[in-house]
């Protein structure tokens, strides 16, 4: 796929004579969504979106289009110029990025890119067929995404990546279980295996009981800890949150804020994640240590926040898409380092008495500065008694301080799993978190909700 590269080049050519940057994102994808074991929301998408940033006398304007013919690009340039002329010069604007050597990171698989709608439907069917008598809800998707950046300062780069995800919620009367797999090689995703895992989990959720609110020791499966860290990252692992004092890490860099077993990095170069070589300004991706051995080390930066900080910071290659700039730079490749436990059963032994959580639902940030997040558990919540996973529980409301969850971590599994973090809103930009299962000495339950099942 070279659609994005061609679109970025054409857009920059149309803006000839301007100080300009063209970022193009192209997508070719299919998603076969199913419910009650029947495909009901199958979606094929083919699109390319070009974002043109023009700088005139220090003033920055931005226009976006998916019309990449001559007329569409001429309009794009005219609208970006008008936007720039309407802005006010910003002294801390760092200018457009200069060309830089980029690291190697291969996240493209030809076989995945070649998957047809029929292939995607077949993979959905494999999941449905393997749900072992239960109704299957979820999707199979695969796609190819190409990001290209070209600028009048000489940046000229592109990367095509692939991704595939199978997600299954298996459910029957009063029971439900969940599983998913993601990878940049579709061959590494086995929808039938995902469905079997979800179905097996569901069968254990029958006759779920309520639980008294309180602080419990807990085991969080990779699906759960990935989502919890993802929400914490919005405010706490990005430079804008740090500068605006939303981040829990503000004023705490260099301090111990978590168990020494906890190391969290952002590493888009890790081939086990969904690898990327550069960000949405064309700056090289870097591995950034966020929490190392329990000590708060850094956040991720882009060129804008580095310039605003004004104290020697430089971009770490985390500029977000233009339409997400109000969030500031974000970690799109979180990784929690594994531990030594051989299985989640070993983690349950470490917990002794507590709860076991498969996945979370509808998280929201209650108090960003304290890292407090609320949400529900779902599709596989159990009591842990005497070091064993015991009876099922209803979905539980939790309200936790993420730093408290990470403060005392009895153990983590020695293996990690890539958990998809994209819900595929807007343009496709696949990203995920590479995490183990984790145990914690404190997971605060504040209420009970619905029973398993749909």
């Amino acid at each position: 796929m070279t659609v994005a590269a061609e679109a970025a080049a054409a857009a920059l050519a149309a803006a000839d004579g301007e100080e300009a940057e063209a970022v193009a994102l192209a997508e070719l994808s299919g998603l076969a969504r199913f419910a009650a074991s029947e495909v009901h929301q199958p979606t094929l998408i083919e699109n390319v979106v070009v974002t043109l940033r023009i700088v005139r006398h220090g003033k920055v304007g931005l226009a976006v289009t998916n019309k990449v013919d001559d007329g569409g690009l001429a309009s794009l340039v005219q609208r970006a110029r008008a936007a720039a002329d309407s802005a006010v010069a910003e002294p801390t604007f760092p200018g457009l990025a200069e060309p830089a050597d980029l690291p190697d990171a291969d996240g493209y698989d030809e076989a995945t890119a070649a998957q047809s709608p029929e292939d995607q439907a077949r993979q959905a069917a494999a999941a449905i067929d393997a749900a072992e008598g239960l109704d299957a809800y979820g999707f199979y998707t695969s796609g190819v995404t190409e990001l290209a950046v070209r600028s009048s300062t000489g940046v000229d780069t592109r990367q095509a990546v692939t991704d595939a995800t199978a997600l299954v919620l298996a459910a029957g009367e009063g029971i439900s279980g969940y599983a998913e797999q993601s990878a940049w090689r579709a061959a590494d995703v086995d929808p039938a295996s995902v469905a079997r895992e979800a179905a097996a989990k569901a069968e254990r959720t029958r006759d779920a009981r309520e639980l008294e609110p309180g602080a419990y020791r807990a085991v969080l499966e990779p699906y759960a800890i990935a989502e919890l860290l993802g929400y914490f990252a919005y405010d706490s692992f990005g430079a804008l949150g740090l500068l605006e004092q939303r981040s829990y890490l503000a004023g705490r860099l260099g301090e111990r804020i978590a168990d020494e077993k906890v190391t969290i990095v952002d590493d888009a170069l890790d081939p086990r994640n969904l690898p990327k070589r550069f960000d949405f300004e064309g700056s090289p991706k870097q591995r950034v240590g966020l929490i190392e051995d329990g000590v708060a080390r850094d956040v991720v930066w882009d060129r804008t926040t580095a310039a605003q900080a004004g104290n020697g910071h430089a971009t770490t290659g985390h500029a977000p898409p233009a339409m997400m700039r109000d969030y500031g730079p974000l970690p799109f490749a979180l990784a929690l380092a594994p531990g030594e436990a051989g299985s989640v059963e070993e983690l349950a032994e470490l917990v002794g008495d507590g709860i076991y959580v498969t996945r979370l639902h509808y998280l929201n940030i209650v108090h960003p500065r304290e890292g407090v997040i609320t949400g529900m558990t779902r599709d596989g919540t159990f009591r842990i008694r005497d070091g064993k996973v015991a009876e099922p529980l209803v979905n539980l409301r939790f309200t936790v301080s993420v730093p408290q969850v990470l403060e005392d971590v009895p153990g983590l599994t020695s293996y990690t799993q890539l958990v998809n973090a994209s819900d595929f809103y807007g343009e496709r930009y696949p990203y995920g978190a590479l995490v183990p299962a984790i145990s914690t000495a404190r997971f605060n339950i504040t209420g009970s909700g619905s029973k398993p099942g749909i």
Binding site: L31, A32, R33, A35, A36, E38, H40, Q41, P42, T43, L44, E46, N47, G61, L62, A63, N66, K67, R79, A80, A83, S86, A87, R122, A124, A125, I128, Y137, G138, L169, A171, E244, Q245, R246, G251, M323, R325, D326, H361, L363, N364, I365, H367, P368, R369, E370, T374, G375, M376, R378, R397, T399, S401, D423, F424, Y425, T446, G447, G449, S450
Partner: protein
């Protein structure tokens, strides 16, 4: 736009030729502008356009959907062919019926006094800079303002003879003051949290918000929250303002009454519903004061249209009457399945997504009296204002909300300001504790632009009108 209509007709014909028993094609041309300023800086000035065609088909009872960004003959035909092929590849047997709808032709345009695209970007920047300057305060670390405008032209043609064109125009604006100090972080917003409020209206809506006038109060409250006491924990009487009630309606009534969720088709992502099809006309949702209406005709509502994305004419219908469930939000497919209604709530996010059951404008109808009267009747309680956080379980039963600001109520009067307020409950229990509503004069409508659903994800814009409301025996002050 005759050319676009012809393209939609071409797509539908191509889909039928490819074996579809039903097909519709929707061409969407969307343009939006937004401006955002922060601490005197212009953070963002952008002008975004997107266009394309989406084709939905039924082949052998299975749905297929494909889209193409090229608004030309080739794009229309290829999208139709891909949609039919994807439907044909769907595993298993399928048997889908659609509730009948009369074929319609016509057009609709949002009435506007001043087209927001006639207002220059420079004027939009100037308005934001003035508003954020008015937020200046020693304790306010981030003062931000934003405005947005959107025009969406969509053409729908179906194989059953419907051919409608609509142009929907939205404007919106908001300001936020963020105070921080001594490890405390607090925010106040106007006219509502989460990028302000929007309306289907012209620039007159933004002018009417008077951002600059409201900014000093917003900044003062953000600063005062730094020194306010934390909201205590307990079970008490709460009075909730219109803005927070809008989100309460959205989460605990709007989503659970979406009939696709009731049937489980959203189970793998946003969740399902505690409601069952058989609950219609029998389930007690709340107290007798509770009346909820779905109204796709509300002037200014973000869910207002002449026809939904299946060509069903806009309507106003009761969802809850005197506390009893009286209706669901439906598509033609779900309406046929339950045997009631005829759809009318289907909307897609642009041209590249398949329509889903979405809220239109869902309102909590007013009662009588004023906010002051609601408060004056409380001996000991809390008044909650402006959303800060929200979460609800997959069946829409257990919810927890946080608000930006609160005040204690003592002997019928507002007392000290409180920060970090939260409240939690179970949907029908909470609505059953509704004991008073503000009157028509206190009823306000909020336009939300961040409602998510579907896989791949889709955003929707919806409005909710609500008066302030009073509930008894509510758990407040949830702690981590």
């Amino acid at each position: 736009m005759a050319r676009v209509r012809e393209l939609c007709e071409t797509a539908v014909e191509a889909a039928l030729a490819a074996g579809a028993s039903y097909a519709d094609a929707r061409a969407v041309l969307r343009r939006s502008q937004s401006v955002r300023t922060k601490n005197g800086r212009v953070e963002d000035v952008n002008d975004v356009e997107s266009e394309g065609i989406g084709v939905r088909v039924l082949v052998g009872g299975a749905w297929g959907f494909a889209c193409d960004r090229r608004l030309e003959d080739t794009g229309a035909r290829e999208a139709a062919g891909r949609a039919a092929a994807f439907a044909r590849a769907a595993p298993g047997g399928h048997d889908r019926a659609l509730a009948p709808v009369e074929a319609h032709s016509g057009s609709y345009r949002t009435p506007v006094e001043r087209d927001p695209f006639d207002v220059s970007l420079a004027d939009k920047v100037e308005l934001c800079l003035r508003a954020s300057a008015a937020l200046e305060h020693a304790d306010v670390k981030v003062a931000q303002a934003s405005v947005r405008a959107q025009r969406e032209h969509k053409t729908l043609v179906s194989s059953e003879g419907t051919a409608v064109e609509q142009e929907l125009v939205e404007t919106g604006a908001g300001i936020d003051a963020i105070a921080a100090g001594d490890g405390v972080f607090q925010m106040r917003s106007y006219p509502s949290a989460h990028v302000g409020s929007s309306s289907q209206a012209g620039w007159e809506y933004v002018e009417g918000l008077a951002l600059e006038r409201e900014a000093p109060r917003v900044a003062e409250q953000a600063a005062a929250l730094l020194r306010a006491d934390t909201c205590p924990a307990g079970v008490t009487t709460v009075v909730i303002d219109s803005e927070q009630m809008a989100l309460q309606v959205h989460e605990s009534v709007g989503h659970p009454t979406e009939l696709d969720r009731v049937y489980g088709t959203e189970a793998s992502y946003a969740g399902t519903s505690f409601l069952k099809p058989g609950d219609l006309d029998s389930l007690r949702y709340g107290s007798e004061l509770m009346n909820i209406t779905a109204d796709a005709t509300t002037p200014g509502g973000l869910g207002t249209f002449a026809f939904d994305d299946e060509g069903v004419p806009a309507a106003r219908a009761p969802i809850v009457e005197a506390g009893v469930l009286r209706g669901f939000l439906t598509s033609r497919e779900t309406a046929a399945r339950i045997g009631a209604g005829g759809g009318g709530s289907m909307r897609a996010d642009g041209w590249s997504r398949m329509p889903l059951v979405r809220m239109t404008n869902l309102h909590l109808e007013p009662g009588a009296g004023t906010l002051e009267e609601l408060i004056s009747e409380v001996d000991d309680g809390v008044y909650l204002e402006s959303n800060k956080s929200w979460s609800i379980d997959d069946k829409r039963l257990n919810f927890q909300f946080g608000t930006q600001i609160a005040w204690e109520i003592k002997r019928g009067k507002l007392g000290r300001m409180l920060r970090d307020a939260t409240y939690t409950g179970i949907t029908p229990v909470f609505w059953g504790s509704l004991e008073a509503l503000g009157g028509r004069d206190s009823w306000e409508m909020v336009g939300l632009t961040n409602c998510g659903k579907g896989q791949p994800g889709q955003g929707a814009h919806v409005s909710h009108g609500a008066p302030p409301a009073r509930f008894r025996n509510v758990q407040i002050g949830v702690k981590a």
